[in-house]
């Protein structure tokens, strides 16, 4: 298993892939913080939120956790980036034909799939760290320039940064697993990314518009709650349990298909 993980990490070490992945993550971290601070400057208020984005209030922004609030605010955006790269890494094995070589070398296919998930989770940890670093690098000067009160931001710093990182990391991994599952089933990164983005921007948005239908169970909402450490609507524990349920369901489906399907690509 260790060999399979190291093998997968070697293949994931493609400079262009990592630069694009981390670059997009850094870009979203910078963008969300710039937007948040711009709206809140001068005592203004946030817009109601766009699909995949949940803005904090001014009070939340100026609280100790405000330093890292950008991570939770754009967790769905980070999630879509993660989903995309997990899907790309999974589907490229099929599109390149590498799957033939991999399965011939390691016929215990569940090991290949598990190793891929573990390796991608490790790279996702690095991506989460990039997001956290760029979040801090942007929000500090932006908040200072906009006149926001940042006096509380040093309070309980390690806990604030650590929990924000961990919550975002869990959410990103779940998004990633969704990408891996769809890419395994569809054998196509394009299909997986289209479904992921389409779901977040269209399906989830439409369900939320239906007043009589509860939306706490929706993937984006659930993972947004995980990334935020819980919300008023759904606690962190409930959100995490639901997210892990999604992961287990997806991995079982992908695992069964991956293990049993003929490799004809």
């Amino acid at each position: 298993m260790i060999g399979a993980i190291r093998s997968e990490l070697t293949r994931l070490g493609q400079p262009r892939l990592l630069i694009t992945w981390f670059g997009l993550t850094a870009l979203f971290a910078a963008m969300i913080n710039t937007i948040m601070v711009t709206f809140l400057s001068g005592g203004g208020s946030m817009p109601p939120g766009a699909p995949g984005v949940a803005f904090p209030t001014l009070a939340q922004m100026e609280s100790p956790s405000g330093l890292m609030s950008g991570l939770a605010a754009a967790s769905s955006m980070f999630g879509i980036v993660t989903l995309s790269f997990w899907a790309l890494a999974t589907a490229s094995d099929y599109s390149s034909g590498l799957i033939r070589l991999l399965v011939a070398a390691e016929p215990r296919r569940w090991r290949l799939l598990a190793a891929k998930a573990v390796a991608l989770a490790l790279v996702t940890a690095a991506a989460t760290t990039v997001a956290a670093i760029f979040n801090v690098l942007v929000v500090l000067p932006a908040a200072g320039a906009a006149g926001l009160s940042t006096s509380a931001w040093g309070t309980d710093l390690v806990n604030v940064v650590g929990s924000a990182w961990l919550h975002l990391y869990i959410a990103m991994c779940v998004w990633g697993v969704i990408g891996l599952v769809i890419a395994t089933l569809a054998r196509s990164a394009a299909v997986a990314i289209s479904i992921g983005v389409g779901y977040l921007l269209v399906v989830e948005g439409m369900v939320k518009m239906l007043k009589d239908v509860p939306s706490d169970w929706l993937l984006g909402t659930t993972l947004g709650a995980v990334a935020s450490g819980g919300t008023a609507a759904i606690s962190f524990g409930s959100a995490l349990t639901l997210a892990l349920g999604y992961v287990a369901l997806g991995l079982v489906a992908a695992g069964v298909v991956y293990a049993r399907r003929d490799v004809t690509d």
Binding site: E8, Q14, D262
Partner: protein
């Protein structure tokens, strides 16, 4: 090569259907260990399906098979002892040749020293830091063979190993395969290059429509060759007249491109020349020849493109691959 050695691969009634298509049709064969084995058949004959089935990539609909003594239902039992190049070489194009091999070595838990060894073996030692996307087809092919050799396998299965190589590269790889076969490895080469197969293989397997047509030593196959005499009239305009006259005289004559091929042994060459002269035609060419593997192959499998034949057969509701 002796045929009483232990079988490295056995199949018994191996069948694989894809919907209405029968890719492998009750295939039963035994392949000897050590040496180079040619696997040939027209397009769509079931070669790739057979290889994939033996490697555990696809499951048979019916029948059984063993590889290195283990059933194909447990490919993990023999995967470490088998090296493969299936269809085109597949790699992460953004990675260097070395990184790709390191990735496979790690998956197979092999020492990284093997990477250098196989890079040297296939002649890529100086190019190993370059990204694979910059490689020519021939270099990718060499890298594919290197990947197959990484585990120093007992059994090597190579699909079109010389595809994309230049003539010098083909000779080089041919020598490599011969050496591997001589040194106790078993190398199965699937190829459309019948001259390659003829040059390098000790044993031959021919399949068509998923059925076994021939399996045996190459020497036995070559016994099927027939002698013939190729002739051409001095003037092209006389070719039809010459053919008509010879056929009337009882010769078995076939027009092939710009010559007439007469099914006759070398001992009848003078008689044939006299017959031509008697019909008033002077020969500018009289050449004694023997069928090569390609001729025998075409005779056995038909002269129609395999995939076209398959699709026609499928359309007619008959078995095809």
């Amino acid at each position: 090569m002796q045929e009483d050695r232990v079988s490295i691969i056995t199949t018994a009634g191996l069948t694989r259907r894809f919907g209405p298509i029968t890719a492998l049709d009750n295939l039963t064969l035994e392949l000897p260990s050590a040496g180079v084995i040619g696997l040939v058949g027209p397009n769509g004959s079931g070669k790739s399906t057979l290889i994939r089935t033996l490697l555990g990539l696809i499951r048979p609909t019916d029948g059984t098979a063993t590889v290195l003594g283990s059933p194909i239902t447990s490919p993990a039992a023999y995967a470490a002892r088998v090296g493969v190049l299936i269809e085109s070489p597949a790699f992460s194009s953004g990675l260097s040749a070395r990184a790709n091999l390191v990735s496979i070595a790690r998956l197979r838990r092999l020492p990284l020293a093997r990477v250098d060894a196989v890079l040297t073996q296939v002649g890529l030692a100086g190019r190993d830091r370059e990204p694979v996307k910059q490689f020519s087809l021939g270099m990718k092919q060499r890298l594919g063979i290197a990947a197959a050799l990484l585990s120093d396998p007992e059994l090597l299965i190579l699909d079109e190993p010389t595809n994309g190589l230049d003539p010098a590269g083909i000779v080089e790889i041919r020598e490599l395969l011969r050496d591997l076969g001589r040194n106790g490895r078993t190398v199965i080469v699937s190829s459309h290059q019948l001259s390659e197969i003829e040059a390098v293989c000790d044993h031959l397997v021919v399949i068509r429509f998923g059925k076994l047509i021939f399996s045996g030593p190459m020497a036995e196959m070559m016994k099927r060759t027939r002698e013939h005499i190729d002739i051409a009239a001095e003037h092209d305009a006389d070719m039809d007249r010459l053919q008509t006259a010879l056929v009337a005289d009882g010769w078995n004559v076939t027009a092939v491109d710009d010559i007439l091929r007469v099914a006759a042994s070398v001992t009848r060459a003078a008689e044939l020349n006299r017959a031509a002269m008697a019909s008033g035609v002077t020969l500018r060419r009289l050449e004694l020849a023997q069928d090569n593997l390609e001729e025998i192959f075409l005779e056995m499998t038909g002269r129609v493109d395999g995939e076209l034949a398959s699709s026609r057969a499928a359309a007619n509701g008959t078995v095809a691959a």
